[in-house]
């Protein structure tokens, strides 16, 4: 037998180490230490009800266990074979005790559709994909016909996972209705949001699902050529995708007369140089054509005039990864998952100040609280949650009041952020929201292609305003100017980059106005992040005059006689923090 004790950060904080010790000593007292092994595991992802103890092989799942409960678990469960009912998980709905974790609603919080094969199959072996029903969706689409397949896509309610959320079926239908001698299918693998790695993981873990979906897409809209626009910074994804394409060709699943249907489809890779704006579909197409990666006005949409002026359908990697399953399992199955207007699941890359950094996939409509506290295991080092940034440089910051908002396209927009491609950066009390806004603006200024002036000049001015505020030189008028300029940039920019780039500013202004005020009126950074607003001060009573700080100051800003309190000359101090580190008496503080 085995007893698994959760060793995740949350459970450790509530004494799971001690539980391991007491379980072991109780077992030893009963002479069973050789028959039952006590193991510390990684996070069970159920931190709300931790610490967790799971007994194998009968899968009994005990919640909120304390070291004092150990004796009872050993005496009852291990020795007598009776479950300790009071420690079992109670279903919140029917109030029944559930002993087997497989029946717990909690474990339905994550559902892997787009990631179904990631971490399961060997991505470099097509046989493993075929063994998991791979490429059967193509066969099914050949049987049902293009029209019916598009109908299925429309009924499924799948919306573009790249961030825009445009209904995929509708996009396909428009492209299918435009007639031309050649049409194209393009996969947008230009994942550029800071902290996002969903598409990369899919391409690295399950490249065949994207190939299969692009072929389906080609058949539905009448395109025989596929192009994957992938950033050159993703060498492993490129390598695996190329291997997958070669294997599919070898099996005749790409090329002429696929599965005897008479339909031809083949694809190739195009490398992007990593410009953020090239994730925008018109810029992406121009980049593939060898032109500068700059967006153009829509209409004409790519569905009418895209790559080389031909009708082109552009979808994102994650969108494609959903498609073979939708075809195989049916639109009804898919549309039963998720919220009213957003169907299916969404993959998120959880990053920032969160315990379980990782790749997760949850049904639409899951709340931020569930994602951050249950799946993500809560905030690092027991700090307080402050905000979560979604949607990257185009998104915004959501705060505590949004924690119980179900995540879907429309709710996130209403809350002042957006779905984006799925990066989720969690921030705690130590993060300065003005600096966060500045960070994203810095990114936008760097990545703006410069074609239209609101984005090229406006964002630069926004950045300068933010910089002044973080230096303590801002005025109240600057805050109004920030808002006005943001509105103008949003209204007048050419493409999605400029139209959304002020969002981080606007959402932090809305949700953290008091922090801006503190920077401007009190010249203080409440989170203690803005260097210019900090001052290092020696506490004249605590200082014993050991001279350690003065000797370690790289710019000789600290003066004072031996055994007498020292003083920092703030005009010379570069705020490097070396003195604080060296002071053994905690006499130096930041104010």
């Amino acid at each position: 037998m085995h007893m698994l004790v959760c060793g995740g950060t949350g459970c450790r904080a509530s004494a799971s180490d001690a539980i391991v010790e007491t379980l072991k000593s109780e077992l030893a007292a009963k002479g069973m230490e050789n028959e039952v092994q006590v193991i510390m595991t990684g996070c069970f992802g159920f931190c709300e009800k931790g610490p967790i103890v799971k007994v194998l092989p009968d899968n009994t799942f005990y919640t909120q266990v304390t070291p004092a409960d150990s004796a009872e678990i050993v005496a009852e469960h291990i020795v007598k074979g009776r479950k300790v009912n009071r420690l079992l998980y109670t279903d919140p709905e029917n109030k029944q005790h559930i002993s087997d974790s497989k029946h717990m609603g909690f474990y339905k919080k994550q559902l892997r559709i787009a990631l179904r094969n990631c971490g399961v199959i060997n991505p470099e072996n097509i046989d493993e994909y075929i063994a998991r029903d791979g490429y059967q969706a193509i066969g099914k689409v050949f049987e049902m016909g293009a029209q019916a397949a598009i109908e299925q896509m429309k009924k499924s309610g799948l919306r573009g996972r790249g961030g825009g959320g445009f209904p995929t079926g509708l996009k396909w239908e428009i492209a299918s209705k435009n007639h031309a001698d050649q049409k194209y299918v393009v996969c947008n693998a230009d994942e550029g949001d800071p902290g996002a790695f969903m598409d990369r993981s899919i391409l690295e873990g399950d490249p065949h699902s994207v190939i299969e979906a692009m072929t389906i897409n080609g058949f539905c809209i009448g395109a025989t050529k596929g192009l994957v626009y992938i950033r050159a910074e993703y060498p492993l994804a490129i390598k695996r995708l190329q291997i997958a394409i070669d294997q599919a060709r070898e099996y005749g699943l790409l090329g002429k007369d696929i599965l005897g249907s008479g339909f031809d489809f083949d694809m190739e890779l195009r490398y992007g140089a990593g410009a953020f704006v090239c994730g925008e579909e018109t810029a992406l197409i121009h980049s593939m054509e060898g032109e500068r990666g700059e967006p153009t006005v829509k209409p004409p949409f790519p569905a009418e005039s895209g790559y080389l002026g031909k009708p082109t359908n552009v979808n994102n990697v994650e969108t494609f990864a959903n498609i073979p399953v939708i075809i195989l399992k049916g639109a009804e199955w898919f549309s039963a998952i998720g919220s009213e207007k957003s169907k299916g699941t969404k993959v998120f890359a959880l990053a920032g100040k969160i315990n379980n950094v990782g790749l997760i996939e949850v049904p639409m409509g899951t709340t931020l609280r569930e994602v951050i506290y249950e799946i993500g295991g809560g905030i690092k080092n027991g700090k307080k949650f402050k905000a979560v940034q979604t949607g990257g440089p185009s998104g915004g910051c959501l705060t505590e009041k949004h924690l119980d908002t179900p995540i879907d396209y429309d709710n996130l927009l209403a809350a002042g952020s957006m779905m984006g491609s799925g990066g989720m950066i969690v921030m705690d009390e130590d993060d300065c929201m003005v600096s966060v806004a500045k960070f994203y603006l810095d990114f936008t200024v760097e990545e703006s292609c410069g074609k239209c002036s609101p984005c090229r000049i406006g964002n630069k001015r926004l950045f300068e305003l933010l910089e002044r505020i973080t230096k303590g030189e801002g005025t109240m008028e600057d805050l109004d100017r920030l808002r006005n300029l943001s509105e103008v940039i949003k209204d007048s920019s050419l493409c999605g980059l400029g139209q959304t780039s002020p969002n981080p500013v606007l959402s932090t202004l809305d949700n953290f106005y008091d922090e801006y005020i503190a920077h401007v009126t009190e010249r203080k950074c409440p989170a203690g992040q803005c260097k210019s607003l900090m001052q290092y001060v020696v506490d004249q009573e605590a200082c014993v005059g050991c001279t350690a700080c003065a000797r370690n100051c790289p710019v000789n800003a600290i003066a004072g006689d031996r055994k007498k309190p020292h003083v920092i000359d703030t005009s010379i101090c570069i705020k490097c923090g070396a003195c604080i580190e060296k002071c053994k008496f905690n006499a130096i503080s930041i104010q």
């Binding site: 193991i39 971490g119 059967q136 993703y234």
Partner: protein, 132 residues
């Protein structure tokens, strides 16, 4: 390699491949076949998954354990890379995080040889479409 010519072909192939996988899973000789999957996405490789995979390949061979070592994509537990999944014949697969060479040695000696679980198991916390 022969081309797959029709959906019926593909389905037949799937059955064959699956029974091959099943055979591998259930094992003609259940005492001897062990499967080790190493999560080899960029995040895993950056944390040393390649070294761990090479170690398993070499050591399992050296210690005469009949095992299949394969690579796979991201399992999603980026905080605990490198992660591996070990499946002993006839048992549920077990995912273990923070695997370095030392841990790998412990896994071979304790779990693969004797079925004793080791610290650092990551419980599966998601649902798959197969259960839907």
């Amino acid at each position: 390699m022969a081309k797959v010519k029709s959906l019926a072909d593909l389905k037949k192939m799937k059955e064959q491949l699956q029974s091959k996988v099943d055979l591998r899973e259930k094992g003609e000789d259940p005492e001897s076949r062990v499967q080790v999957k190493v999560a080899m996405a960029t995040c895993g490789i950056a944390s040393g998954a390649k070294t761990v995979m090479d170690y398993f390949l070499e050591e399992l061979d050296k210690r005469s354990i009949d095992a299949v070592v394969t690579q796979t994509g991201c399992m999603g537990y980026c905080y605990a890379e490198p992660t591996i999944e070990v499946k002993l014949p006839g048992q549920e697969p077990v995912v273990i995080g923070y695997v370095d060479v030392k841990k790998a040695d412990e896994i071979i000696e304790k779990y693969i040889k004797n079925g004793e679980l080791v610290d650092g198991i990551i419980p599966m916390n998601y649902n798959t479409i197969d259960n839907q």
